[in-house]
């Protein structure tokens, strides 16, 4: 029986030969990931009420990334509770302030193709870039996973999104996703699985693929899958794990897809989402010249090493405009170290970027870098909901790291392409 990639992974997790979209099955969870905000502080009371410990400490990864570093007694207490709980539960997979969970998890070799993974965060579809079925749940559902090692799922239909052609210089996965949000809407994914296919996807690096899968959340999809290939295996090996331990499924050509959308990458220019929705996106020209108070390169979506490379390509040898501030929060401590080693960090800080700790930080209004009433920010993050980055009247525009960097140089929303063209000798 022909199956989609999603159906194959779910069938394996359900211990069945096959599954069909629409059917509700119970799956064994290969890995559960939780963070400091929705994790121990929420699930500990439930486990205590039920008088049980986690089902398998080796299959649980805990990552403190939301309230890091502590800025007051409340955040300090949350981080301490997380540390104490991890010790109590004998969980070895614990990363304390090492970066954002969606980036740290694959970086440390926890994801392999074919795994069924549940994350306690809405950007958990990021793991789909590795050929895993990974999706986000709330803390009560997660408590159920931690107690039983299982969860129920309605087998999703698959919405296939096929991209062909090579992206022009100055455009990136972020621009592809903003284009998809504008075209399909924030409920275009309908809590089904999105699967990205085509020559453009095959040519993307793992970090760019992670941006695609990450923002499947903004399409309202449960998961954002990309079948594993040689690029995936190389990344996993570099992370110190063995890709061959996984099952690199691919969807069957004649599988039943709900719909196949086709997009052409060759003519895609930089896209910008205006406030207050990622679906409110259009070509950068539409937002051109909007003055900004702050630029932010951060978050799981927009501060991986390659994102920093894009920003440095624009900012190298240039300066952040006076009256505008550029905050830089690399997605993980390893990203910071790699960017320091290859000279990227120096290019960015010499341009005037203010280096911040790795964490969810300003993106969700949790940490340092929030906006005052009436302020405007251009960010490489995934969401620009009303008031998300601070005061209720603050505004957030979304763009690629190239576009955020160009905007920082001009102090106004700017197209990065003229800067990139200028760089050419």
């Amino acid at each position: 029986m022909s199956m989609t990639l999603a159906e194959k992974i779910i069938a394996q997790a359900a211990g069945q030969g096959s599954v069909r979209a629409g059917e509700i099955v119970t799956c064994a969870v290969d890995l559960a990931m939780i963070h400091d905000s929705g994790g121990p502080r929420r699930v500990k009371p439930v486990l205590e009420r039920l008088g049980v410990k986690v089902w398998d400490a080796k299959k649980v990864v805990v990552i403190s990334d939301h309230y890091v570093p502590a800025v007051d007694q409340q955040s300090a207490a949350i981080l301490k509770l997380t540390r104490d709980w991890v010790k109590d539960q004998e969980i070895e997979g614990f990363y304390d302030q090492q970066g954002i969970c969606h980036v740290v998890l694959p970086e440390r070799g926890h994801l392999k193709p074919g795994m069924f993974v549940v994350g306690g965060d809405s950007h958990s579809p990021t793991g789909g870039a590795f050929g895993c079925y990974m999706f986000g749940v709330g803390a009560t559902d997660m408590a159920g996973v931690l107690v039983t090692g299982e969860t129920w799922i309605r087998v999703p239909e698959t919405i296939r999104i096929d991209w062909s052609g090579t992206l022009p210089h100055g455009s990136s996965a972020k621009d592809m996703m903003l284009k998809l949000c504008a075209t399909l809407g924030m409920d275009g994914g309908d809590y089904q699985a999105v699967e990205y296919t085509g020559s453009t996807i095959a040519g993307l690096s793992m970090t760019e693929r992670m941006t695609m899968s990450n923002m499947a959340a903004e399409l309202g999809a449960q998961a954002g899958l990309i079948a594993a290939d040689g690029t995936t295996a190389d990344y996993i090996r570099a992370a110190g794990a063995d890709p061959d331990e996984g099952t690199a499924f691919a969807g069957d050509e004649d599988a039943a897809y709900r719909v196949v959308h086709k997009f052409d990458a060759t003519a895609l220019g930089p896209q910008v989402a205006a406030p207050d929705s990622p679906a409110n996106s259009g070509p950068v020209e539409d937002a051109d010249d909007t003055p900004v108070d702050q630029c932010y390169i951060g978050a799981c979506t927009g501060a991986k090493l390659e994102d920093l490379h894009m920003a440095a390509e624009v900012l190298g040898g240039r300066k952040v405009a006076s009256g505008t501030r550029l905050l830089l929060a690399p997605a993980s401590t390893r990203v910071t170290a790699a960017a320091a080693a290859d000279g990227t960090l120096a290019k960015l800080t010499e341009a005037g970027a203010i280096l911040m700790p790795s964490g969810c930080g300003a993106c969700a209004g949790y940490g340092a870098g929030v906006l005052a009433e009436g302020e405007t920010c251009m960010a490489s993050t995934a969401r620009n909901f009303k008031g998300r980055m601070g005061a209720r009247s603050s505004k957030v525009y979304l763009g690629s790291p190239y576009t955020v960097a160009a905007t920082a140089v001009r102090g106004r929303v700017a197209d990065p392409r003229p800067f990139l063209a200028e760089n050419r000798p």
Partner: protein, 162 residues
């Protein structure tokens, strides 16, 4: 069950329901800021038994289940929406909040009194007399809501068996 309607549009997101700036504090404090970015009147004035009526994609965004929990704490009995964000929909029932799928915006204005029958999927606007069809809520989900959420529901079941 009956209550007064509060009406919002499409794409009411989790950051509006549970603003990030208050997430690290007690959930009772967070509840005071529910929806304040779009409606300063809601949190101080909502009454036990009231109902939210919205359009497409209610509860999109974060997996934070406090987005549903604050509504429960404020006494909201149900959210009626044309569609829900997938994670929020599961969180709502897990926290004891009734989520009803119905295209009800045209037949309900803010302040109208509503009577809900989740078993049959019937919404009655007692102010106008209009009846609106919602998707019926299966019995096991109604039991979870009646118990006050999945955890108390499981506790009740465990007690019965012991």
């Amino acid at each position: 069950m009956s209550g007064k309607a509060w009406k919002y549009g499409d794409n009411v997101d989790t950051d509006l329901l549970a603003p990030g700036a208050y997430m690290k504090g007690p959930v009772e404090e967070l509840a005071k800021h529910c929806l304040e970015a779009i409606d300063l009147e809601f949190a101080p004035n909502v009454q036990p038994g009231d109902v939210i009526v919205a359009g497409r994609n209610f509860g999109i965004g974060s997996s934070r289940e406090q987005a549903a929990e604050v509504l429960v704490l404020l006494g909201v009995k149900a959210v009626i929406a044309k569609s829900f964000g997938g994670i929020f929909y599961r969180n709502a029932f897990n926290l004891g909040l009734l989520a009803l799928v119905a295209d009800a915006e045209a037949d309900i204005e803010a302040g109208h009194e509503l009577d809900l029958d989740p078993a049959s999927g019937t919404i009655t606007n007692t102010t106008t007399g209009a009846r609106i069809a919602a998707e019926p809520v299966p019995e096991h989900l109604r039991r979870i809501v009646a118990a006050g959420g999945l955890v108390p529901y499981l506790e009740q079941k465990l007690e019965k068996h012991s």
